[in-house]
Subunit: 527 residues, 2 copies
């Protein structure tokens, strides 16, 4: 069933010589299938095909695109247990998680299908001609969003379905009318190939041009680099490490034509716990956070890696509670031995810094590639002075920073790099005494949460998943939710264009019955 080959459009191809296998972290052994990394020639073919297919795909109607997206969802579901088994074998994640993530992936595809089928997302805007305006007549101008071109999507290690082959970036780009080339993640190339086969089937069933989608295997960084450097590629979507995302951004910056690189990267997701909440709900908050820190073996981008408070007996008690609670939790498997290795190295690096106290460290033996969760504590001054403490430790780890007072707490927040989320744990009205703290936190994050946990990213229109650099490379866009389609489009104006040659979205008679802004008023009216 799995071939280990690349999809160059609908063609299965393995011209390259570099082979690799994925790894089952639970069994601590390589999976049997041998994957062939895409060769230079295959990469070039995929891009040329994507560029050619774009000339057709960009004019395909919203209704047809919706059929395609829904068909992808159907074909993914039809993969059934094969997909779930492959997912688990390549990630060490449990079946429940695989099914949950599949549900999220399907949900995303269908919500983009609904969006483009309805059609108003193009933000059609019409300013009618005013031939008698003084001193100069106004001409008829009409605007709508159009796709950028072929997009390269880099799959994420930690979301083999929802942020990889047919994940949020791909779904949004296809919905926008962009053709997509996925650089498959080397840790789950089997899952990637299965999902790619579903997309190819869906494309054929719904009559999409060959090349609307390609899937390229890669074990290192070369495939991605060659893709991003190709002049026919017009945008990049990435979910992963700061190092990886920044490398792609730098590569784009060196192109003759720089292109948008939307990378969703690292975040330690600061959580501020206020005194009254600490006094009233100390053990409860500790228990909740022990769960959030270890959720998915701590491998979520919204994992709470930093907990901030003002030094007090209650905060000390909280550190104890959190440390006890987190050690109660059974260790779980990480995605890959390299991820486990990185976790251990980063944890030790941070824990070994001066003035850092390890308050919890799961020390019993664990199964292969399972992560030993840990909590450390440090004072605010040390945190401010040592930037190593600001690094993300990807895994079930969190650091409690005990600030000497409110001012230092604000200073600590201001010193942070950009983050996906910030959370305030507060009781009653105490939050109103922390206006500056909240303002400082807002400056550093894309989403702010009251009395909750940052893990769990709802897929909805009001969600922002992104934030100031390095949470993402462009905070003006979200990676999650239907508005993420805006990353892949540009506005385009038609001036005095004949009505019969306008796209349906902008025709006088509004044949798609979409909402449009006509002379400043949002309406479904005809002209």
């Amino acid at each position: 069933m799995i071939t280990g080959k690349n999809y160059i459009g609908k063609l299965l191809s393995n011209k390259g010589s570099k082979k690799y296998q994925t790894f089952n972290p639970e069994l601590n052994q390589e999976n049997p299938v041998e994957f062939t990394e895409a060769s230079s020639e295959e990469i070039e073919e995929a891009v040329n095909l994507a560029s050619k297919a774009f000339q057709e795909f960009r004019f395909i109607s919203g209704t047809k695109k919706a059929e395609f997206l829904n068909a992808i969802a159907d074909e993914i579901l039809a993969l059934d247990d094969k997909l779930v088994e492959m997912y688990c074998s390549e990630t060490g994640l449990p079946e429940g998680r695989a099914k949950g993530e599949r549900g999220r992936t399907i949900g995303q595809l269908r919500s983009f299908a609904n969006l483009v089928e309805e059609g108003s997302w193009v933000e059609a805007t019409i300013d009618k001609a005013q031939p008698n305006r003084e001193p100069m007549p106004r001409l008829d101008i009409r605007k709508m969003n159009i796709p950028l071109g072929p997009v390269v999507v880099f799959g994420a290690s930690n979301f083999p379905l929802a942020y990889s082959t047919a994940g949020g970036d791909t779904a949004a780009a296809l919905a926008a009318g962009c053709t997509v080339i996925v650089k498959s993640h080397p840790m789950h190339s089997g899952t990637g190939e299965l999902v790619a086969s579903a997309i190819i089937k869906a494309a054929e069933k719904t009559g999409m041009p060959n090349g609307v989608f390609s899937n390229l295997n890669s074990s290192g960084i070369e495939v991605g680099q060659q893709l991003v450097a190709n002049p026919k590629v017009k945008a990049v979507g990435f979910t992963g490490s700061i190092k990886g995302g920044r490398a792609l951004l730098d590569l784009s910056a060196k192109r003759e034509e720089p292109i948008p690189v939307f990378a969703e990267m690292g975040s330690i997701n600061p959580v501020v716990i206020l005194p009254e909440a600490l006094a009233n709900r100390n053990a409860e908050i500790a228990k909740t956070y022990a769960g959030s820190i270890t959720l998915g073996t701590g491998q979520f981008c919204t994992n709470p890696g930093l907990i901030l408070g003002v030094k007090s007996d209650a905060l000390s008690a909280f550190v104890n509670h959190l440390s006890q609670e987190i050690l109660e939790i059974d260790p779980t498997c990480m995605l890959h031995p390299n991820i486990k290795k990185g976790y251990n190295a980063n944890k030790e690096k941070v824990a070994s810094q001066e003035n850092v106290t390890i308050t919890a460290n799961y020390e019993s033996d664990v199964a292969y590639n399972h992560a030993q969760q840990a909590v450390v504590s440090v004072d605010g001054k040390t945190f401010l002075e040592n930037s190593t403490l600001h690094l993300e430790v990807f895994g079930p780890f969190s650091m409690v920073v005990q600030c000497k007072n409110k001012a230092e707490l604000e200073q600590v927040i201001t010193s942070l790099e950009g983050q996906l989320t910030g959370t305030i744990i507060s009781d009653n009205d105490e939050i109103s005494n922390y206006t500056n703290v909240i303002a400082a936190l807002q400056n550093r994050v894309g989403r702010i949460i009251f009395n909750g946990v940052p893990t769990g990213v709802e897929v909805c229109e009001s969600m922002v998943h992104g934030g100031p650099y390095p949470a993402s490379t462009d905070s003006r866009f979200s990676a999650v939710g239907i508005t993420s389609i805006k990353r892949w489009v540009r506005p385009f104006s038609y001036q005095s264009w004949p009505n019969n040659l306008l796209p349906n979205e902008l025709k006088n008679e509004n044949p798609l019955n979409i909402f449009r802004t006509i002379d400043g008023e949002r309406t479904k009216e005809k002209l």
Copy 2:
């Protein structure tokens, strides 16, 4: 009246040692006032002040921001003849143009004032909690646009009012809630200081924080470089040359935290003339284009620098007509001797390429710094093979490319760099035979025009002024029109946030009575 000093917030300051003067190109002599370039220390002060002021300004209501923007417009009008005289003395442009551009500037300020006073521009989006949703409850999430932070604006040489000190970029950034530091254009620093004084007066009258606006003089590139490299600066707006814009983009790419650089740069604005139109309206089109090419001495970013057609007797006749018509026009003054020098050098460079025929070149003597208009003609093959011919010749110049057939015409269009505009001149239904040509043109431009001229950029919601690189650095945004505010904001989510602490835009009771999207429906309803 003019001091030659920098505005560091409301403080007039001249600590630097580098002095320069502006130039009157009509009189061919320096203007009397000596300007002091901002020192490193002053640049730092301006940025620190802008950063501090941002912490207050970002929370100021739309109504107050509207007062500020309207007050700027009022204060600019109050400068009256002083401003017009200064403008003319620094640009060589006529009084009518000064007044026209002032009107456009005022109009832009007032339209942003209206936008933020009304308030719906923040795109408030609310997804209500669904506590009983299965398998997981949905939390209350609310989103709106918030400002990025201090923005640096680079004034344009060719629009001393509408795209400089209080021009489109500044108006949009202030409307968004960003504080602004203008790097004044060295060619019109007097105009810049007058407008800056108006902004400072308006800020004081309407109670804005000191540092909401600063104006820094500069004669070279160092002031701009230091500004863009400053970590407290969060975005950049630029209108000017490809070289200048690219340098800023590269500088941003090297920052620890890269920031959005929105640069509107070069464009040669291809115009495609189809055969029937050529047959029916040859002389008329030639006359119209002679006017468009020489408008504002050819110093508009939408100047039609490239005219494309399929080789025919009618096209030859058109070249003759255009060449005759353009020589009928009285030469006019360029903005600065350096611009004239650049015009001559670029014109000669292009005209001296192999197979290029000069069909019109105004050879009589002209007054100081007046530009001698020119038209050249070349075959499609030569144009495709020689990239020097794709360069922008900033000034009253255009090149006619005579393609051997429709396929070569399409190839020529595809070979072009990104452009602000593309124009099709067509009669009756002949355009329907040129689907591929139009599709190719659409791929290369931000705005497409039917039977018109690219010069004249309407300020309205449906306008796109921008396009694929190098027309602009990010084609996803327009530099003109109220949607240009989106360059300076990012979406921000509040999750489960207490109603009384939400910004007014997101409160249950909708106190600002703005349009919001609640569970997917656009409405002014309360919750």
